[in-house]
């Protein structure tokens, strides 16, 4: 069983504020304990089998000037700048 502190820690890592959300703990606990069904899945090897597909036709890695069109719809857009909240 996963401890509540561990869920709180994960939430903190991904910057989700859980203060007002007691019910999320219960739901997340319930879902995680359902995920434990995977323990029963008999896998021959624990090593991850990955498939490497060669990609031969990559696009040319070229810088394309997009210009103002890309940013004209952004909010709080001033000149070539975007106004953002002040961070400290």
């Amino acid at each position: 069983m996963v401890k509540r502190e561990e869920i709180a820690h994960a939430a903190d890592l991904i910057k989700i504020d859980l203060e007002e959300h007691e019910k999320y703990f219960e739901q997340v606990e319930k879902i995680l304990s359902y995920f434990d069904i995977l323990n029963k899945a008999n896998i021959e090897s624990e090593d991850l089998v990955t498939q490497v597909l060669p990609i031969e036709k990559l696009r040319e890695d070229k810088y394309i000037v997009y210009g103002e069109k890309l940013i004209e719809k952004l909010k709080n857009y001033k000149g070539t700048f975007i106004e953002a909240p002040k961070m400290i």
Binding site: V2, I16, Y24, V28, L38, I43, R59, K75, P85, K86
Partner: protein, 481 residues
Amino acid sequence: MNLAISAVQYVEEIKNGNISVEEFVTKTLERIENVEKNLHAYISVNKNALEEAKQIDKKIKSKEKVGSLLGMPISIKDNICVKGMKTTCASKLLEDFVAPYDATTISRLKSEGAIVMGKTNLDEFAMGLTTEFSYFGPSRNPWNTSYVPGGSSGGSAVSVSANECIASLGSDTGGSVRNPASFCSVVGLKPTYGLVSRYGLVSYANSMEQIGPITKTVEDTAFLLNTISGFDPFDNTTIESERIDYRKNLDAGVEGKRIGVVSEMTGEGLDSAVAKASRRAISKFQELGAECTEISLDFVKYAVATYYVIAVTEAGSNLARYDNIRYGFDFDVEGYEFNAYIKKVRKNFGPELTRRMILGAFTPSAGYAGKYFLKALNVKNKIRSQVKQAFKKVDFLIAPTVPVLPFKLGEKIDDPLALYLLDINTIIANLSGIPAISVPYEIVNGLPVGIQLFADSMQERALLQAAYAIEQTTNLPGVPM
């Protein structure tokens, strides 16, 4: 004028000059105006639709090239970018985001002369299967407005079913095209992973999602697939392959085909009405000359856990980009400590996103990755190899699209795990990359039941032939509104 015509019939009507694009689009806009207050299929409607229709009529008159879709009104799920239109993903964090470019599927539709009627409702960032997790409020099932339309492409399925457009594009990460198609009595296809470009689709779980058509008939699905499929240099996961005309030989039938009835998807946990409908569909296939045998895929019992572990892990990473700085809602300009600012932004995610963010932080974290994420990837490989083995014995797999009938709004919203479990019959296609289609099969007590067929990778043509064969045996009523 009859708005309940298929894409194929629409093209005929326009070609024969029986109707003009302008007339059809005007009637469609009136229809939207009349039914939207009850259905809420659309988040936004294209204000230029009528103007675009007039332009296409002009081109038709002067015999200019207009493409095979001839001004066909098509709706687009609001997580696919359409240049100059809002693409909100039904989230507060993108409520004012205007896409600066067209997704590849959109530029292909436009080059064939389609008109984007509007952007349709979905569960926030396509996470859910009822459309109730939309920041803008739920869509409703046109067959009975007290019921959910399914999801996450609920708005798309509603708009097609209720004749608010001819066809639609949705996205399917775990069943999000097929589930609402089944609940709203329309056709929904999840193509092979890599058959359709994902460029311009807002990412949720990149390794599993595909854009797919939602239409009134199987032939319409083939028609749209002809337009949207194929290699795209902007999406390196697309497959280079020979161009196929999916409409050709659609009536080839299923004589001599082998169909595997998946035991794990047709036994326990099925609603009795759904079970009966699926048994009838199986006997119908036998009457049509197919050979149906029971087939067991025992790893299906791990599919829901496997799918959700992978989906939340990818979602946690994809959603981390939304910082609400370039677009989103307005913020006080006061000073913030960085972590506090991000936390404040993320408070605006809806409940399902919040849950999946927490889960998505947990499953790949140090100490748990082996137990959850890496284990899930291994089980996914095992599922994939079981599915591949199955296709050595049979041509298609069959199961009901959703194990239950449509249910009432609010009925399951507080039990996320119960909702996840309803994905059991659709997610195999996403975990193994194979194509799957939901075809309307019955109406039970006024509620639609869909039947689902799977084929091996890149076997869309055969899949559509089988779907067409079963579709021809049905005679379903039109939507009751």
